[in-house]
Point group: C2
């Protein structure tokens, strides 16, 4: 049995109240008493019982993270960095991080379980969708939330996101500057918000460049190696090959690059490639570096979201409820001018 507050206060000849206050940093405790209390607490290795504290305070001191397995997030190393940043920052405030898995179909119910059971008092919503019932639900019940990504109506809640549209514009501009006109586009399901935004950027930049978007060159590539691989093959099999290809996510990008290599396509000469979020160098052919649209470290994203959520849970006003980070273009040797002809 670990020492409890009663024992501790008995040993000190003080009331539990005083001890509690001393330990929780209230200022109506004499310096001397606090000193003694802290000393003794250390000596006995006293750790307040979390559950009791939670019940008394009416807070769960925990935040929930539901990861939709179907979405393939688990395979995304960037998302893992996000988790890392999240949990590190939460831990600093002595908050627990509850991880719940969910198939997309049961996801909402998972949130409900977490919320109405009082297991968490704040939530991180990952992989936002253009229309997102999870966020609607959380807002309706008034649970503090920070979304990792926006939705179609992004004003009512706090979020952290990268400027996906601007990022994709960068990608198109690179290709256009090199002289490409037939630009192919491989994208994740457009119900995902980031995919919709990136596609909007694609359309906008193409139009701005006076280029037509050839529907035959726009392919849904899913959100995994496998689907990306298959989609790239479909694209290659089409009547007119593009001279440039932009892939809107790294998972599918990896599969696509693989497919191109398999098909013997000379990346960067026959076909220029940019992958949003990039492809790790070490999975590629020697010396190859895929040009990318890069995002500032995912770890920081996690930290920042934790920070925002903590403030919300404390009821503090958030200086900026919306953080939109600008992606940057990261050069590579996977792009070049279109092949003659």
């Amino acid at each position: 049995m670990p020492t409890d507050l009663k024992q501790l206060s008995a040993r000190l000849g003080l009331s539990a109240t005083t001890v509690s206050r001393a330990l929780n940093g209230y200022d109506d405790v004499s310096a001397k008493t606090r000193e003694r209390v802290e000393q003794m607490a250390r000596e006995l290795g006293y750790q307040p019982n979390r559950t009791a504290r939670r019940l008394a305070r009416g807070r769960a001191d925990a935040v929930g993270l539901v990861y939709p397995l179907d979405a393939g997030d688990l395979g995304d190393p960037r998302f893992l960095e996000v988790i890392e940043g999240l949990s590190d920052r939460l831990e600093a405030d002595d908050m627990d991080l509850l991880l719940a898995s969910a198939r997309e179909r049961t996801e909402l119910r998972t949130y409900q379980r977490l919320i109405s059971g009082g297991r968490v008092d704040g939530v991180i919503v990952a992989r936002t969708r253009v229309v997102d019932e999870r966020i609607d639900y959380l807002q309706r019940v008034g649970v503090p939330l920070v979304a990792y990504g926006r939705t179609a109506q992004p004003d009512g809640f706090a979020w952290f996101d990268f400027d996906n549209e601007a990022g994709m514009v960068l990608a198109v501009q690179q290709m256009v500057a090199l002289g490409h006109r037939r630009i192919g586009y491989l994208h994740a399901p457009l119900s995902l918000c980031f995919a919709a935004q990136r596609q909007a950027g694609f359309q906008r930049a193409m139009q701005a460049a006076g280029l037509a978007v050839d529907p035959a060159l726009v392919v849904e590539g899913g959100l995994s190696h496998r689907t990306g691989h298959a989609a790239a093959q479909r694209l290659l099999a089409g009547p007119t090959r593009p001279s440039a290809l932009i892939v809107d996510n790294n998972l599918c990008g990896m599969g696509a690059v693989r497919a191109l290599l398999d098909a013997g396509v000379a990346i960067g000469r026959e076909l220029s490639v940019i992958v949003y979020d990039g492809v790790p160098d070490d999975v590629l052919r020697a010396g190859m570096r895929i040009a990318a649209i890069g995002q500032p470290t995912a770890y920081r994203a996690g930290e920042t979201m934790a920070e925002m959520l903590l403030a919300l849970m404390r009821g503090e006003p958030l200086p900026d409820r919306h953080r939109l980070l600008q992606p940057v273009f990261e050069p590579g040797n996977s792009i070049g001018p279109p092949a003659a002809g």
Copy 2:
């Protein structure tokens, strides 16, 4: 405010006691009463407050998973599957999964926080070490635990593991059967239990085959792409190249394979390669499949460990406290007879 037990019982004209019992499946409640209670609970969307229940029952209804960031687990897709299996199974028993990150140096303290604060009542210990103070600590304080991997003294606690030694013996036997005699070995830090076991298998199988282990061909390759890459380069630069190479983990294996490809080594002809746990096909050159020692799905491993831990926490005797799964050899075209000369 969600409905609480008091409101629910008031609505029913029953005491909280009875309602609680009805809902928790006690048998001293009349069928009719139970019926009514369940009906009304559903109607009001009653969800018992977890914190209160926890305090009353003296259990946390949660298990902790501390992942050592330094170890590179986060990058290991297999470990993520394990988490998936774990959380799915725990959820079925209405248990929370607490995720805590930790640098190796602060790891023990993280466990202490979880335990003595009563945040969890059971723990999964990942990446066991040959001498593992975490397990010593947990046993000392009597917390139910299931280890993912063994230690040097594996008898006192429940664990789930693959037969690493046997797996590595398989790998060596394959190489030997093909006629290899100069077999190189790239391994993770030997303080990690799986690495030590696999190395033991390597030594044993080499000896059994009457082959000497050339110290120059045994290189520590770490537990990441980067270190594996570097280690393979070191090996290639050595005075006598091996004709076969075995890598004891997938992370480092990926980097090593990359390094070989970069160096223009004809894998499977100039140099045969087996990677423990395998390298995903889609990161390789077209048509290449790295021979591997494979382990039954990691998802099942997670599920099984959850199952074991749940039983332990319920105080049930565990039919088999130790689960040792046999790995299998998975063929590929990365191996062949040694090149002539």
